[in-house]
């Protein structure tokens, strides 16, 4: 039966309310089980040996002493994870990142692993593994890595996307370009031009829960994996492919998740744990330490970006261009490409060109981080936009309103926009009380806009009606931000029953059809669409069962406010049948009642936000304090407004840390100097003001309730909004993120 996803403009009963989350009690009492909370009988402890070198050829690994140590049950190297990728370059990169093969490519790269009866034995065994390295020259800086004299990480990399093919290999893995019009002509029409270069340092997603899993491979070739992930179906696919298993023989169960933000969309330790378990014949638990998380999983790119924007006296932008260089770790990424697509997406531009370069460096593989790549591009572009507005003497908000993209605008990355929310967020900012509040000495205000695509994707949901009329909802998208509550609201809405009558769970990979990950702000968007579809299928069955009970035609039964109602004059004396009554009779009317849905949720709809920020900078220390922060963003329809606000606040909080403090610091030896939360400082409550939010609801025409994704866009504007605020406070344009106290003092000195 086809499902019509179009927006219908219905009035809501449950959707839009704020019930308590179903996982809340377990989380605050410690009963909730995270990745490291799962244990199996006979389980071993897994530990990973990591390269101390930023770049080194692995000449030989001798594991014999470790294998002889009492209590050691398995030792593995790359030889135990043979290349089964069949020419799939992306999968080969994942395999090589999980366990180094010919070369160690960054400080922290896994080179071997052990499984032992306890942690002490495993640690001792790691010391007994002898690795013979040939240390090679390394490069960790994105600009240095692009130089012709830089040590080349991979001799097989010839810059993709340029013609003719370069004669020599280099660290520039790929060039991509977007835009339209004639930029050179556009700049000739400009009265004022701002041209600047910006840098952002590498940051980590900073999820509180480290990567953790328990793998159990049976001698019959089947396996179980209990893991903390944003996408257990994708983990199953990657692990099965890397280990040469049938996907149906690997069951993956996702635990509760203590943050992911994109970092848990990639496999890191899981194939290693499975390989250890396969070799040892026993379950293996592998939990990364915080140091391992920093050294070997998930940071975003460091960037170097040049921006040029020109405008007429009346504030019309005539041309805009940017060159974006993003580090991707030692493997090809698509991070500069995304930066190049998002950089100018907020604006209506006749002439625009962006060029992105993916740059290989001796740092851990760059991973997705909440609206990946967009915050850095927005920092550079929104800083230049602010400066240009000032140059021509126009208010920063008004300048953006004048140039904002609208329905029908050709986006800077290509397609023409449908209905979008950038204009309304700017208008809301313009009239917001925050913009009119007075500022004191050493204080400054900044604002910025941000864009993110949002995705949908493959989704499968089961809705089962219990014999007592309660409803269990099995979804396949991991709940990272309260989606079990949101999806229960959607099921309750569609069925016309109370929220409390629905219980949502995240099903394992053996219990449900394939689901894409919870990424791209798709969790609630996609799974709510599948939940609506499943509920409608269940309602069809409920009507059929009611028709049986009444002995009338199903065409004479409608579903209204949670009950079956017989329509038509001849059935006027039939009292409605509630879901509970129909469920109680299910055994005699055809068996269990359920609704299923498998669909591809397309049409997620792009998302925009505008942020306003006030800061105070101490001119003596260079320390910045965020005084006030406001997030304005379009949600399409906020299913559970509290969790939408939570996403807005969370993105802003992460952005504040990124803008002011967070930074990977490498020594000259190519080793990470600050792999811990003491030296890599994420914001804590005392660093943050209460972050105010304003939810706009401009319905997405491609979702029955008008829902848009809301998880990522809120991290796009903060770097720029805070940089604009700091620049206004100190009177010097800040061009390097994070704006840590030493950088602010240096800027003040230079200014």
């Amino acid at each position: 039966m086809g499902f019509d996803p179009r927006y219908t403009g219905r009035n809501f009963t449950s959707v839009g309310t704020r019930p308590v989350r179903p996982d809340g009690v377990d989380k605050v009492t410690g009963r909730a089980r995270y990745g490291a909370d799962f244990n199996m009988t006979g389980q071993l402890v897994g530990r990973v040996l990591r390269s101390p070198h930023a770049h080194a050829r692995i000449k030989k690994i001798n594991t014999s002493k470790a294998e002889k140590l009492a209590g050691v049950k398995a030792v593995i190297t790359a030889a135990d994870l043979p290349d089964l990728t069949d020419g799939d370059a992306a999968m080969y990169a994942i395999l090589d990142n999980c366990m180094a093969r010919e070369k160690a490519l960054y400080d922290g790269h896994a080179v071997a692993a052990v499984a032992a009866v306890d942690a002490r034995t495993a640690k001792e065994a790691l010391k007994l593994i002898a690795v013979d390295y040939e240390v090679l020259p390394h490069v960790t800086d994105v600009d240095e890595a692009m130089k012709p004299t830089a040590p080349v990480l991979d001799d097989s990399v010839f810059t993709e996307g340029v013609e003719p093919r370069p004669a020599k290999p280099s660290n520039i893995a790929k060039r991509s370009q977007f835009g339209h019009g004639n930029v050179e002509e556009g700049f000739k029409q400009a009265h004022s031009i701002v041209e600047r270069s910006f840098k952002t340092e590498q940051t980590h997603q900073g999820y509180i829960e480290p990567h953790a899993c328990v793998a159990s491979v049976s001698s019959d070739g089947t396996a179980d994996l209990w893991v903390c992930t944003q996408g257990h179906f994708v983990y199953r696919q990657h692990c099965a492919q890397l280990l040469g298993m049938d996907v149906s023989k690997l069951r993956v169960t996702s635990s509760e998740i203590g943050g992911g933000f994109g970092g848990k969309t990639h496999v890191w330790a899981e194939p290693v744990a499975l390989a250890l378990s396969r070799k040892a014949g026993r379950p293996v638990k592998l939990v990364m330490s915080r140091e391992e998380v920093f050294r070997a999983s998930g940071p975003t790119s460091a960037t170097s970006i040049d921006v040029k924007i020109g405008s007429r006296k009346d504030g019309t932008i005539t041309a805009a261009s940017a060159t974006l260089r993003y580090s991707s770790g030692p493997y090809l990424g698509m991070w500069a490409e995304i930066g190049a697509m998002t950089a100018f997406a907020c604006y209506k531009l006749e002439n625009v060109r962006t060029v992105g370069f993916e740059v290989l460096v001796n740092r851990p593989k760059s991973a997705a981080y909440r609206a990946p790549s967009a915050p850095m591009a927005a920092f550079a572009v929104e800083s230049a936009i602010d400066e240009l507005a000032k140059t021509i003497g126009m208010d920063a908000v008004q300048f953006r309103i004048k140039n904002a993209a609208q329905e029908g605008t050709q986006s800077s990355y290509g397609p023409v926009y449908g209905p979008i929310g950038i204009g309304p967020t700017l208008e809301a900012a313009k009239s917001h009380a925050h913009m009119k509040a007075k500022l004191g000495k050493n204080q400054g205000r900044g604002m910025a806009c941000g864009f993110w695509f949002n995705f949908g994707g493959q989704t499968c949901t089961d809705l089962n009606v219990g014999i007592d009329g309660s409803v269990s909802l099995a979804v396949g998208t991991v709940d990272v931000g309260g989606s079990r509550a949101s999806l229960s609201l959607v099921a309750a809405e569609e069925l016309g029953i109370p929220y409390e009558q629905v219980k949502a769970v995240v099903a394992d990979t053996a219990s449900l059809g394939y689901n894409d990950m919870t990424d791209g702000s798709r969790g609630t968007f996609s799974s709510s669409m599948a939940t609506i579809s499943a509920a409608r299928n269940a309602i069809r069955t409920l009507r059929e069962r009611a028709a049986q009970m009444w002995e009338i035609s199903v065409d004479d039964v409608i579903w209204e406010s949670g009950q079956a109602v017989a329509k038509g004059r001849k059935h006027g004396n039939l009292a409605p049948l509630s879901l509970k009554e129909i469920a109680a009779a299910a055994g005699n009317t055809g068996g269990p009642i359920a609704g299923h849905s498998e669909l591809v949720a397309d049409g997620a709809g792009v998302s925009f936000a505008t942020h306003i920020c006030d800061v105070e900078v101490d001119p003596d220390t260079g320390a910045t304090r965020v005084l006030r922060y406001t997030v304005i963003q379009d949600a399409g329809k906020a299913v559970h407004p509290t969790y939408v606000e939570g996403q807005y606040q969370g993105g802003a909080a992460q952005g504040i840390g990124w803008a002011l403090n967070e930074e990977y610091i490498y020594g000259k030896d190519g080793r990470l100097q600050n792999p811990g939360f003491l030296d890599y400082r994420i914001p804590v409550c005392s660093d943050l003001p209460m972050i105010d939010t304003q939810i706009l609801e401009i319905p997405n025409p491609n979702h029955p309730y008008g829902v848009r994704g809301v998880g990522e866009t809120s991290i796009v504007p903060p770097l720029a909004a805070i940089a604009n605020a700091v620049s206004n406070a100190v009177g010097v344009r800040m061009t390097h993120i994070p704006m840590s106290p030493p950088r602010i003092l240096a800027a003040l000195g230079a200014g």
Binding site: R175, N454, D602
Partner: protein
């Protein structure tokens, strides 16, 4: 016949063209014919391409048909966080 706009890297693989005209009724047929006519595009299609039809981005539904006169853009299949 539909006119398809290619993003930068894809245009390079298609011999420097930014637009191509293809006789295709849906995304599946478009990808098949693109690969036939421009073999250098095959690795890009394997890696993943999203199709924007009148501004809506489709990443997976290859059966999506093109409305008459639709604006069609090919884009990289992006990752999210």
């Amino acid at each position: 016949m539909v006119e398809v706009t290619l993003w930068g890297a894809l245009g390079t693989a298609a011999g420097g063209k930014s637009k191509v005209e293809i006789e295709a009724k849906d995304i599946r047929e478009l990808f098949r014919k693109l690969a036939e006519q421009h073999p250098a595009l095959e690795p890009h299609i394997q890696r993943g391409i999203a199709v924007a039809i009148n501004g809506e981005i489709y990443r997976d539904t290859w059966s999506k048909e093109f409305p008459a006169g639709a604006e069609i853009f090919l884009l990289p299949r992006l990752a999210g966080g």
